[in-house]
Symmetry: C2
Amino acid sequence: MSGAPALAIEAVLGSLRFDAQGLVAAIAQQHDTNEVLMLAWMNRDAVEETLRTGEVCYWSRSRAKLWRKGETSGQVQRLVEFRFDCDGDAVLLRVDQTGVACHTGRRTCFYRALRDGRLVSIVDITVDPDALYRL
Amino acid sequence: MSGAPALAIEAVLGSLRFDAQGLVAAIAQQHDTNEVLMLAWMNRDAVEETLRTGEVCYWSRSRAKLWRKGETSGQVQRLVEFRFDCDGDAVLLRVDQTGVACHTGRRTCFYRALRDGRLVSIVDITVDPDALYRL
């Protein structure tokens, strides 16, 4: 999705219910495979920036700043469709993920699973995390 | 998934990072279609109850009590697999949803989307919500 018109952005912002910290939860889902990639947070500015540019931008709670996904790692998320839920406090970002979503170098952040009574890693590292962040 | 052993439940609880309110975000995803159904919250008791019984249980923030999904509506979620993310503060519940996940009578709560610059509903109501809650 390329940039949405200002009126549409206002309509979305008016429909979302930001919490006491001014945030909504945002799920990123790969648009063609339906794989859930990650969960992060958005404030009003992050929603606006995402819709305006068509590139996903979150609010980093740990760094207390806007965080354009991939700004350091290059692993950007192109917005395909913006959806939100019945309560307006959760967003579903249908995206096209470049490379990997997880800072560990895995496609998805949800790589830990309980299987046969044991915690296991179910997703391989496909990109060296040191290379992602040029450490 | 039927009930997990106590040791496995302890391992999961020890790996999750509950926030200041004692909660983690939980995404429910239909296991065979990969459709994202809803986002809700779990505390330690909800995680334990879900893993022990194999039926998804959340923490209702509005009612401040455990909420077995479907306890009123019959629209239960059977747990297929429990996953969580790199930070341990978000859970991905792979479930088998009976009927509809949304209290509006739609399969998924994420039925509002921005398309062609307009907010539209992209999921039909398939169950009368009055029938769901016997109003």
